[in-house]
């Protein structure tokens, strides 16, 4: 089982900064979106990347997909450095992505079948076999094969996201990046999509990078998590450990922000000091801790 334990994806010191221009078009500085992030995902694992809006989660996904070019660091897939090939056709055969909003990631003017055929055409799947493969892919995500003739606006949000999943799996990738795949969906549909992803992962031996701000979903789905704050991973480890014994204040704040229903859940919730009678923002809380110096901020490499 050595191959199973070895990491499929390794992110080493990945960095991305965006230049900032003033009104006259001259460069006045830069914004750091991803600040030297390192993590690895074991083959067949589900790595959850959590964080609030603007923490750099989606930027990391886009860097791994080659939609953005990193300003520093390396991406290793199965031990070989693929930083230079990000975004190429060869790369897309191994790494695929499911976007946040299926309403905009499917072309409104093309049928479901045409959309699912895109990766098949791009990677030279035999023309005669494409119809059969499209039906097979749709059935794999529990949609009737007849949906191939329909347009995206004729489908519900959950059905569209299933199509996006089928499309991402068409070329049998090793790694699938899920960028908030359920955040645009109804709560009742979210669980179904996650169940589908779980069973497909097992069936097809997929490795997932699951990006989300929804910690309750992450707790159920991911087996390892990294918490991202302002472009840095402030805490990472096995899901159970991070959720039960969060070490970093920001992680506690995130977990405390998850709405709870039962008293048992309430008891498990980390205690956060209230500032002015309400749950503080991350900035306020971290500033307060800094001034009290009660807890050392754990430094991770």
């Amino acid at each position: 089982m050595n191959a199973r334990q070895s990491p499929l994806l390794e992110i080493v010191d990945l960095a991305k900064t965006f230049p900032v221009y003033n009104a006259f078009g001259s460069r006045v500085g830069e914004v750091t979106a991803v600040d030297h992030v390192s993590f690895s995902i074991r083959r067949g694992g589900v790595y959850g990347l959590a964080g609030e809006s603007g923490s750099g989660k989606s930027t990391i996904a886009r860097l791994i997909m080659g939609l953005l070019t990193p300003t520093g660091g390396d991406v290793l897939l199965a031990g070989s450095n693929i930083t230079g090939t990000l975004g190429t056709r060869a790369h897309s055969r191994q790494v695929q992505m499911v976007f946040q909003n299926p309403g905009s990631s499917l072309n409104p003017r093309r049928t479901i079948g045409q959309s699912v055929a895109v990766p098949l055409e791009a990677h030279g799947h035999p023309r005669a076999d494409r119809r059969r493969r499209i039906s097979e892919l749709l059935e794999m995500v529990q949609l009737p094969a007849s949906f191939a003739e329909r347009y995206p606006h004729e489908l519900s949000g959950g059905q569209k996201q299933r199509v996006a999943i089928a499309r991402a799996l068409a070329v049998a990738p090793q790694l699938v990046v899920l960028d908030e795949p359920t955040s645009a969906l109804d709560v009742s549909v979210q669980a179904k999509v996650i169940d589908l992803l779980t069973s497909l992962g097992r069936q097809l031996d997929l490795t997932y990078l699951f990006i989300s701000h929804d910690l309750s979903l992450m707790r159920n789905f991911a087996d390892e998590v990294g918490v991202l704050y302002r472009g840095r991973i402030v805490e990472s480890g096995p899901t159970a450990k991070v959720f039960e014994h969060p070490e970093h204040d920001y992680t506690r704040l995130l977990i405390a922000s998850v709405p709870v229903i039962s008293a048992e859940e309430e008891a498990l919730r980390p205690k956060i000091p209230l500032i002015d009678g309400e749950i503080p923002t991350a900035e306020k809380l971290l500033a307060l801790r800094e001034s009290q110096r009660t807890i050392e901020v754990p430094k991770r490499t």
Binding site: G87, N101, N107, V118, P119, L155, G158, Q159
Partner: protein, 295 residues
């Protein structure tokens, strides 16, 4: 309601083409435009069989019947050499529509390809294409037509050439701005991450989303091209007699105003009629696609 209940496999569904047609048919001005355009196109196609004096399109002279007012025999009256104006107006539609088809048939593919390329690739490609477009836009079409007519000779082919040489710029700008917006959309990024070729992204992902805008612009442009073509022939830079052309007929009839008013007013009304038809149709298509984009 559960996710899978929203649309069952066997749920009855109307084709989207039928839905579009239904909405279009409820728009009275759009329907008037469609009827006018259909009538003009059919009349032009069937001209030799439906006109009373099909031989009057040539250099026929019949001085006994010159300057006759509109009557049951000559619906639009006759001109200064005794030819039936109604017959010549219907044949004039042929020339006008041919002009519009040829000009737009060359301007649209050129403008679309340049606009897609500039909008998607950006950078120096965009700079080169769009600055060149700006320069071409700065040339007044009538001056261009004058130059072409002076260098070559004033006839139908050269007036087509002169109009088409500048008309692509409007399509380039339109497609460019749409492509700029679409480039950032997730379905384009999704196609990129799926390994699709640039050709596929431009022509299979982005272009289908431009089709409605192209259809609206084409319909509106048909009216404008016909007007520009008529202006050119009115100035004597376009189609030369005896070929029946609406602009030329207005020009030659204007010598006999106001006594023989029908000789220029009725061909003028025909220009108005066909241009109005295309404009109403274009407005109707725009209303239709605006609704569909909001959906």
């Amino acid at each position: 309601m559960s996710d899978d209940m929203v649309l069952r496999e066997d749920a009855p569904r109307l084709s989207s083409a039928y839905q579009s047609w239904y909405r279009f048919s409820r728009n009275p001005t759009a329907m008037i435009g469609l009827v006018i355009v259909t009538v003009c196109v059919l009349a032009a196609l069937l001209a030799p069989w439906i006109t009373p004096y099909p031989d009057h399109i040539g250099a026929v002279v019949n001085f006994r019947a010159r300057h006759l007012p509109p009557s049951t025999e000559y619906w639009f009256g006759t001109d200064n050499v005794g030819r039936d104006i109604f017959t010549r107006v219907i044949f004039g539609f042929r020339v006008s529509l041919l002009l519009a088809v040829v000009v737009l048939g060359t301007a649209i593919p050129i403008g679309t390809i340049l606009g897609l390329t500039a909008g998607y690739f950006g950078g120096w490609v965009e700079t080169v294409i769009m600055r060149f477009t700006d320069i071409a836009l700065a040339i007044p079409p009538l001056v261009m037509a004058l130059a072409v007519a002076a260098v070559l000779s004033p006839d139908l082919v050269n007036s087509m050439l002169a109009i088409a040489a500048l008309w692509w710029t409007w399509h380039t700008r339109l497609i460019y701005s749409i492509t700029r917006q679409l480039r950032a959309r997730e379905f384009v990024e999704a196609a990129e991450t799926l390994g699709a070729s640039k050709f596929h992204i431009l022509f299979r992902e982005i272009l289908p989303n431009c089709v409605s805008a192209i259809a609206v612009k084409t319909s509106l442009d048909c009216g404008f091209v016909i007007l520009v073509g008529a202006s050119l022939s009115f100035l004597g830079l376009g189609i030369q007699p005896p070929t029946p052309d609406l602009g030329t007929m207005v020009a030659s009839g204007s010598a006999f105003l106001p006594d023989y008013w029908w000789e220029s007013v009725l061909p003028g009304c025909a220009i108005l009629f066909i241009a109005l038809g295309f404009n109403l149709l274009g407005d109707g298509l725009r209303d239709l696609y605006d609704v569909e984009n909001v959906r």
